[in-house]
Every structure is written in structure tokens, then in C-alpha cells.
Symmetry: C4
Subunit: 369 residues, 4 copies
């Protein structure tokens, strides 16, 4: 079902990847991936808010030798562009998360593997390259602990705890197309737990979250999570500066400014709108957590803006799913190369030879038109 290498090479933008993927995916799967909460206002805003910022580029800087390399939580990566945790990669490609991991490794990036993967975390970890594990905290603390233990054993380098999902947001588009996990696909890391809730599949996710996720999770539990392993803990889903400071005080090694791809609370700010406040809130702290962001990125210039506004790196969610759909491992690799190429060009044109040269002065809110 994937495209030929030639056809893949002709895709020039993230939107073209999405269109090609849409032609391949069953409608419910496409709707599941694409949809956001309620009216999808935040979904649109995640993208559009990037346009609010302009690139006030510098000229006559030597940009003949450019590098995109950076470090995240001490791990070297070839580019400040990581793979966000997203569910159910086998909807997109038969090899699922394993193909994603291979494409990610091919370009020297890092993948965050979802609790809701359709391949086991061990299978994905068997692919070389650095990985973090995204964790949903379950009411069943034993289950939670076992996920952490498995992640440690498999060699994951950090735990990414999603904190914006005490209940599941309502994605009307996915409801309307009656999305269910197709026969043969499973939450591979949670097989038994999930079957207990919805043995037939069906609208498993909302039911699963309602019955199994821990809506009583608080900041105090972060310390408990940290005690489960020596892995650094990253909190994903924070948009407020005050929350970011609490996260830092609770020992979070990283913060991902995220609104869950606009799938939870419609009306939440775009992540690029929330990023500056979070970056400033922790910027002056001693040993500040690293700040990353995801949401709405479709162009290399979007990444440039995120780095300028305080992100150490960004994560790509849906673009990776479209790429996985159209090309499997090769698609993921091409998507990351495309984004890296665009970022590199933006850096050249803005006068930045390295990611550390991307300072806040290069990006300004656009004057009202």
C-alpha cells in the first residue's frame, strides 16, 4: 500500500504527505489520526499560530557550514526534531512502531514510544537508536510499575508521562466515522488490561481511559514515579508557566509543551503560544528542566520559530503518521530529512550556522495586517 521510492521523493511538503496518506488510509483510521477535540479550534490554531511569528533574519553571517546537531537529556541527536508518541502505528503500516523506529534511527533522531503502541515496547526497543517511553499512569499502580520496569529493562532512556489526560477528549470526527481498532491490532503493551475493558475493541479508548487511567493523579505522584527507576522523567502536556515551575520543583528533567495534538481540551492555547511562557518560567531556575514542544509543526520555519522561542527540540506527531503510511520506514526517514532540510535552509537564510545561534531576537510577533 505504500508509495514507490520515486513517488515518495516527489512529496515536497507535509501537506502532500497527508494527502497521499489520506488516499491510502481507511477513513476511520484517517479520522482517528487527524481529528481534534470538539470544534477543532485548537487543532487549527496549533498550526495557524505559527504564522503569527515572523522571521526577522540576519544577513552576512557565514552559514557555509551548518549543523543541526544537539543534545536532549544528554543524548546526542542529529537534529532537534524528535518523533512524538502517537498511538496505533499499525493502522498506518503493517510493521507499526518498529518501522517508525527504523526510519527515526536512520537519520539519527530519537523516538518516543507510546504506551498505546501496537508493537510491544520490547520489539520497538530492539531497533537501534535512542528512545524514550511515554507512560500513561494507571489506577492499577502495579501495572504502571510493570510498564516502567519493562521500559528500563528494554533500554529506554527516559519516561515521558502524559499529564493532560485524566479523561479522554471527545474527537467528534472519529466518533462519527465509528473508529475502532481493526481486528488483529492490539494495544500491545496492555493486552490483558485492555481486553478486560472492551474485549471486542470498539470505542475501547475512551472506555479504557475512563476505567483504567488515574484521574486522581497529582504532583505528589510524580515523586513516586521518579522513585520507580533512575530514568529521567519528562512531563508532557503542560501549557502554563506556573505548572512548569511546579514540574521543575518536583524534579522533572524535561517538559513537553503540548496540548495532546489538540485532541483533549478544545479552546486550549496553541502550543507555540504557550511555549514562551513555559520557557521563561523555568529559564531562570537553577538546573531548569529542558523544554520541548509539539503541535502544529508543518514547516522547517515552524521548527525554527519554536527553537527561537525557547524549545530545545520539537516533536512531530501526525506528520510521522502520514509518512509511515505512505512509505513505512523509508517514509519516516524522508519526512525527518525533509524537515531537517527545511530547518537547515531556514537557518542559512536567517543567519544561523547552528541551533544555538537561533536566538529569540530573530522571531517577532507579526504586526496585525
Amino acid at each position: 500500500m505504500t508509495l514507490s521510492i520515486d513517488a515518495l521523493a516527489r512529496l515536497q511538503t507535509v501537506d502532500e504527505f497527508e494527502q497521499a496518506a489520506r488516499a491510502i488510509l481507511p477513513t476511520p483510521s484517517y479520522d482517528y489520526y487527524r481529528s481534534g477535540a470538539d470544534e477543532e479550534r485548537t487543532l487549527r490554531r496549533n498550526r495557524r499560530a505559527f504564522r503569527r511569528y515572523q522571521l526577522w533574519y540576519r544577513v552576512l553571517v557565514d552559514v557555509s557550514q551548518r549543523t543541526l546537531a544537539t543534545k536532549v537529556l544528554g543524548t546526542d541527536v542529529a537534529m532537534p526534531i524528535l518523533v512524538a508518541p502517537t498511538a496505533y502505528h499499525q493502522l498506518a503500516h503493517a510493521e507499526g512502531e518498529v518501522a517508525t523506529a527504523r526510519g527515526t534511527a536512520a537519520v539519527g533522531s530519537l523516538m518516543v514510544v507510546s504506551t498505546l503502541a501496537t508493537r510491544t515496547l520490547e520489539d520497538v526497543a530492539a531497533v537501534p537508536g535512542p528512545k524514550w517511553f511515554q507512560l500513561y499512569v494507571h489506577r492499577d499502580r502495579g501495572l504502571t510499575r510493570s510498564l516502567v520496569d519493562r521500559a528500563v529493562a528494554a533500554g529506554y532512556r527516559a519516561l515521558v508521562v502524559t499529564v493532560d489526560t485524566p479523561v479522554l477528549g471527545r474527537r467528534l470526527a472519529a466518533e462519527r466515522s465509528n473508529f475502532v481498532l481493526p481486528p488483529g491490532l492490539h494495544m500491545a503493551n496492555l493486552k490483558e488490561a485492555a481486553q478486560a475493558v472492551a474485549p471486542e475493541g470498539g470505542l475501547a479508548l475512551a472506555a479504557y481511559v475512563a476505567s483504567r487511567h488515574d484521574a486522581s493523579l497529582t504532583w505528589r505522584d510524580i515523586e513516586w514515579l521518579r522513585s520507580l527507576s533512575s530514568l529521567p522523567v519528562v512531563l508532557k502536556g503542560i501549557v502554563r508557566g506556573d505548572d512548569a515551575r511546579i514540574a521543575a520543583e518536583c524534579g522533572a528533567a524535561g517538559i513537553i509543551v503540548s496540548n495532546h495534538g489538540a485532541r483533549q481540551l478544545d479552546g486550549a492555547p496553541a502550543t507555540i503560544e504557550a511555549l514562551p511562557e513555559v520557557a521563561e518560567a523555568v529559564g531562570a531556575m537553577r538546573n531548569p528542566p529542558e523544554v520541548l514542544m509539539d503541535g502544529g509543526i508543518r514547516w522547517g520555519t515552524d521548527i525554527f520559530k519554536a527553537l527561537a522561542l525557547g524549545a530545545r527540540a520539537v516533536l512531530l506527531g501526525r506528520p510521522i503518521l502520514w509518512a509511515l503510511t505512505v512509505g513505512g520506514e523509508a517514509g519516516v526517514q524522508r519526512m525527518l530529512e525533509l524537515m531537517a532540510g527545511e530547518l537547515s535552509r531556514a537557518m542559512a537564510l536567517a543567519g544561523c550556522a547552528s541551533v544555538t545561534a537561533i536566538d529569540r531576537g530573530l522571531v517577532r510577533p507579526a504586526p496585525r495586517e
Copy 2:
């Protein structure tokens, strides 16, 4: 003419209720309900202005046990979502306001019954559950007094005096579709008075308001109104902080920030735009009146925003009419449950376990896109 329970259950949003109702209602009735004044700028703005506010949610709060319960003027209600006074419910459903009252009571909410009801205030009062009576002050003070006396006798718990209608606004859409009260429907509370003006029905309302309502009403009359009974008096239709303070000084127990569903003065501010000023104006007073609002609410997140910006509760107008049309009593119940469910989800996702936890810091004007 109403939908089956199954079809009703498939309606997921207020807009879907409206579309379903539109398919059922005669065009003039639909236009009468839907229309706003003149160009309908304020009508659109009532809805759109909610989008100006973003939900800067908090994470890692225990939201496993949530309650929507609150009190309005001392009455316990299960949710901060009341039924606004609207005219002529028999246009929507044969049982009219009685069905609305039943659906409202089923979820523990409170209904404000209109002077312009098509069922007598006594009939509606016979349905269990707390109710307030909306009052238009007539030039004929005897008639006005008799309405108050009847409301007291029937057990209404407050008088909601509409103060934004010295003359009737012009609703072009309703005029163009020649809306008249169909044969057999009456202003049940005003039968004789209305027939004296327009025995044939026709454009009864504008004529009725022009000839019978008291356009000379002033703040001084509020004291007289208060003297008619021991019921608390709520003033509906205020948008200014200075007017709100005068209302409080005149002894109003409550203020409903409202522009009459954008049916009176086109160009008036959206109610969510007016709410913060009103809430602040009376917030620092001793024994401040309770502040409520209506206008433009279509989502649970809209209600969340109104509560964050100072409303103790909101009232739903048109959404109740659509729900009454499509499902009678069951429709009204389902609409209120839908809104309550959406509000509850928004509270969970924003970190609020109760309505008192919804503070102003959670809502901010969106940055310009």
C-alpha cells in the same frame, strides 16, 4: 414530530440539535426562534466572542470526583446551567412550557418561565422543580401586579424583570417570513390583554410591546416592583458595570448579563464580553447581587469560560428550544445532560473538581492570530 430516543441520542452537539429542529419546524417558527436584530451582528458575535478566550488548563489536579452542583439565590441546582425565559414553547412542542419544565426538573436544573409562555404560569408551576418567573412590566400596573401575585401564588421563587425591551427590536428574518402565532396558540398569561391589541394574532408582538409595555420604566420602578412581593428580583438585560452597580443599589438580588439573545439592539456587545465588567463592578460591593449570563452558549467550554469570568450560572435559550422541538421533555433533558457532560469534561481537563475551582486565571484572551 419529535425524534425517536435513538435518533435523539445520536445528536452530539447543539448545532446538530438545531439542524434537526430546523427540519421539523415550520420556517416562520424557526426564523422567529433563530433570528436576531437587524444585521445579526450581535447574534453572531454572541457565539464567536467565546472563541476569543482560551483555556489555560492546569494539570495534575485530582479530578476523579467532580461535582457541578451549585446554588442560585439560595436554591440548590445540580448544575450551573439554567433554562432561560423564551417565548411560545408550543411552537416547538404541543406540550410547550410544561414539557420544558419536566425536562429541566429531570436533571435538577431550574427553569425561568416567560411572561410570553403559551401555557399558563400556573400550569408550568404544577411541574415539580424550582422556577423563576420572567416579568415584562406593563403600562397597566394592575396587570403587572396581577402577574406578580399569580407568580407568588404559584410558587415561583424569583422575579426576573427584563429591562432591555422598552420597544421591540426588529428581527428582519422573522418579518420576512411573516411570523405570526399560529391559530390555537396564545400568550396564555395575557390572553385578554393581548387580544385587545391584535385580535387576529398577526404581528402581535411588536404591536403588543409598543402599546402595552412600559417604555417609561426607570430604576425608581424597581423599588415598586420589589414592594409587590417578597420574591427576590433579578434584572435581566444589563451589560454595563455602572448599570450593574445601580441595580445592586436598587436591591436587585441578581443580574443576568444578557442582550436578549441579540434580538434587541444590533451592535450591542456579546454577553461574554460584557460579563467581566459587570462581575467586577459588583464584586467588591457588600452583599453583591448574583451574576448570571446568557447568550451564545453552544459548548461546555463556553459555560466554563462564563463561570471563570464571573458568572455563577448560565442560562440556555435557543438550545432548549431546539431540544424541545426534537424531543419534547426528553429532548430538554438530553440537552442539559449534554451540556453538563461537556462542562464536566472541560473541568476535568482544566484541573477543576468543582465549579468553585473555576477561577479567572484559567481563561485568558487569545493572542491575535
Copy 3:
């Protein structure tokens, strides 16, 4: 060609008048009336800018007795809604400016008669009711003086000098439809002068303005103009506060904030945007000139906003032309009554029993949506 009284009575808004007029007028005439300069940005903005202002109405004011009466330059008028000077009324109706004058007089308003009328200023003056004369200053000072003398003799009460037309703006739409004055129509006040320039008609106006208007006119000439008669001089076409102050110092009795119906300089501010600055600039002067405005008014609420922002009265241009087209004298009368009715309703709903009660606090810029 005009509509029946019944059809006329069914027109409910200015836009409906325009649509009806468009169906009657030859395209070139319609385009001539409707068009603005260049891209017509200011043309659109003249209308849209009114939407920027909201009506923060007051309640519980006695508005049972309302009056729209006011005075302009000492003349009593029944409403603060005057007839702006516009060219060539015989394009719209065979009786031309005479019909306009009759409709204006019927409601107690005041007409400003254009130099470019198709009926002589004497013919128009023969219709009862107060009138001002709009004057273009010609290089031929003898001609200019003779126009003033004629206006005095005919009983005009003021001279309205247009100051925004040293050259004619380019109205692309009118050029594209090849507008020319049809056979039999003439600049009745300038017959000989005009024929000398363009005996065949044709694109007479741009050529006429270029060859005959005085592009060297300066503030010093205003004193000369004042010396020609004892009539008060009103300057029409000012948008800046500093220009307004100079006008006052030069003895102007009135200022019309106008951009010539957006027909001169595309990119000029909307007149409602310029009005507050002009009103403030002269407001603190001793014996300030009266401030009026035209441009973009289509609703009674627009007039309300203009009065609140400092205008003593407004002038209607195109709406009168549409009304004259569809109904001649009766059309003009109906248009003025429609606008007066809308203004009266807006005053009732905003808590104003007279035009002097319309204070600036009732109008505020809308929050960004």
C-alpha cells in the same frame, strides 16, 4: 420606472433599496454612483469601520417620549440626518434634485445641493425647506463668485466647500463601464463652462475637474470665500484634527468629516475613524465649528455611533440616490423616515430620549474577536 408605493413600503433596509435601484438603473449610472477610488478599500472600510464600535446601552431610562430634533448652523431640523451633496440626480429620476428636495422637505430635513446638479440651483431652491449649497472652487474666480451670488439670491443658508478634490479620484468601475452623462443631462449650474471643456459629454468630469477646478486652493482662499457673502462656510472633506483646527481658525462655521464617499483617495481612513479626532481637535476651542460627517452609513445604529463620537448630524449620499431611483420624492422621504425610525429605535434601546443624550460613553471599540 419607480416602484409602486406598496413595493417601496416593502424595502426594509438600505441594502434592499440599493438592490432595487440597481435593477432599475443602467449599469454605467449604477457604477458611477456606487464606485469608489482604485481598489475600493476605503469604500468598503467606510461601511465596515462602523462595526468596530459597539453600543454599550443603558437600561431603565424613560424613553417613552423621544425626539430626534436638533439644530444645524442655527437651522431647526427634525432629525440629525441630512442629505449629502451628490452629482447628477437626473440619472436616478427625471425630476432630479427637485424630487430629492421635496422628499427631504417632507420629513423636515435639510438638503445640500451639489454644484454638479442636473437641475439649476434656482429650481431646487424653489422647493420649500432649508438648503445649503455645495461649491467647487473654480480657477475662474468670476465663475466661483457668480455661483455664490446665485446661491445667496436663491436663499441657500450655507456654502459647503469641497476641499478634497484638487484632482478627481480614479473610479475604475465607472471607467470600465464607460460612464458618460446621457444625452439631455447637463451640469445645469455650469452649462457653458462644462461645454467649453467637453462639448460631447464623454468623460467630462475628470477633464472638467482637471481643467477648471483650482488645485492651487489653500487655506488663505477660505477667507476670500467667506468675504463673498454673509453665508456661513462649511468645509467638506477634512479627516485630520490639525486640519480641523486650521479650518476653525480660518472661520469655518462647520466641518464635514468626509472622504468624498471614498471616491478620491483610496487608502484614506473611514470617516467614522476620523470623526473622533476631528471632534476632539475642535471640541475645546472657543466657538468651535459644528462637526458633521458622511460616509458608509447604512443603519440607524451607524448614525447613533456617529452622534456618540462627536457628530452633530450625518449626511446620506448613496442611500438617497438609491431611494430617489426607486421612488423619486416618495423614495427619498421613505429613506429618511426609515433611517429616522431606526435611529429612534436605537435611542430607545440604548436609553436616550433625545440626541443630546447620546454621549460618548455609550459607544466603545469592540474587543478584537
Copy 4:
């Protein structure tokens, strides 16, 4: 392929020139000329941003005698409207840059000839009239020096060094239509150098820039460039005030505020947005460089705004290409006359008899609508 003189005379706006040119040009050529980088956000913004500014015109100024004459770098020009350097004029017209030069000279303007011309710089210089030479600095400093020497020998009066192109921006539209230089057309000034890179033509430009342009160029190299000749050096492509000050300190005689027709970095500010900062940054320096601008100009009022905001003159890029396509030399002449006529009219209507009278107070940001 060009239009008749009559058809040419009927074109009234730049957009009409573009439409006419589009009907003549092969699609790839049209796309090459028209396209901007990536999403073309900056391309649209270059035009739209002019609308943000309003013309607060003055009245009663003597504008009967107007002049557009000015000086740029000491050269007298009849109008503050120059011809921007653009590539490949033979795509538009068989005579290429020679026709452009003739049309420019016919109205007393000045042409900036591109390094990427399809006619040799010597051929173009043979046409009378003042010219500047636009220079891309090559890694091969010998080639660079030889271009400078040739420009000096041919009588060019200034070097315009493009500083915004260390790599080539991606113009998706041109890529999608597979633009290549048609057979028989060459980079006439670089024949040998270009053929070494892409002997077949093809996507020569991106490859050429990548392999031959000097991405390591810095401010220090400007001094070296100045040392190559006695010609004044103008830096083209600056948008920041701080860069403008450095340019001045490096001895630049002029700065062109430009974003390369929005063909390089999508998300860059519109040039009219950048102009005020640049003008202010150098305005207070001793011997400040002259500030010019290009980008998005389509109307005489746009030019007026640029002059008011600090530009000594503007340059036209795409409008000249459309004009060259539709009319060759005569088309270029007509375009410049059209723009000059529009500017002159705007000056008359704003109260400016000369370009020096166009002060900043005449232009203000528009209030939000």
C-alpha cells in the same frame, strides 16, 4: 506576442498587466516569475501589509504644480520609482533586458541590471540612461572581481550586492511546473561558469547558487567589495535595523529593504513592515546610507506609503516583468508612467507638491477593523 498599443493603453492596473502577461507566458515562466518561497505567506504579506497603513491626507495645499523628481546616490531621476534587478528578461520578451532599459530610460528612471540577466551587462549598458549593477558574490573571487570590472567599464554607477541569498529559497510553484531556462536563453554574464554546473539547463539556478555563490560571505567582505572599484555599494536584502546600522558602518552607500520578492525565506516580514525600523536605525547616523525598498508595490498609494515611511525611492520587480511581457519597451514605459501617474494623483490628494513633502505624519497604521 506583445499587445497592440491600444490594448496596452487599456491596461489600468498592475493586476491587469499581470493577467495579460499570464495569458502570454508559458506556465513555467509565469510560475517562475510569480512564485514565492514555500507557502508564499510572505509573498501575500508583501502586498497586503500596505493595506495596514492609511493615508491621513491634508487638504487646502497648493498642489497645482507637482514634481516627482528626486536623486538617488547623486543621480537625478524623474521619479522615485526604479527598476529592480530581476533575472531572465528574455523569458518575457525577445529583447530581454535591453528592452527594459529602453523603457526605463524613456521615462527618466533608473534600472538595476541583474547578474542573472539574459543579455550581457555590456549590451544593456549600451542603452542610454543611468544603471546600477546587481552583484551576486561568487566563491570564485576572480569571477566576482571580473563582474565588477566589467560593470565599471560599462559605466554602471553603483553595485547592488544581494545579501539575502546564501542559499536559494524553495519556490514550490516553480518546482512543480518544472521551470528550466528554455533553449537558447543563458545567464549571459556567467555563460561559462553556469554551463560548468548544469550544462543542460534544468534546475540550474538552485544548483548554481549552491555550488557557486559564497554562503560564507560576511560583513568583512563588504570592505573587500568596496575596494574593488570606486562605485558606491548598495546592500539589498536587509530587513533589520541593527543590520542596517552595521551596513552603514561598513560603508554601504545605500540599503534596499527587500526580502527578495518573498522568494527566499517564507515568514520574513513584509518589506513595508521592515522599512520604518531600517529608516529609523540609520536616520540619526552621520552620512546615513540612502534607504530604498522593493516588494509588494502594486499601486501609486503603496509608493506614497513607502516614501512616507522612510524610503527615498522604491523599486519595481514583477510589475516590470509583466509589462515587459505584454509590451516590451513600450510596456515598461507604460508601467512606469502608470505608477508615476498614480503617485502624482495620490500626492495631489494628500496635499504634497513634491516627494520631499511626503512626511511620516501622512501615514498611520489603520485601526483594527
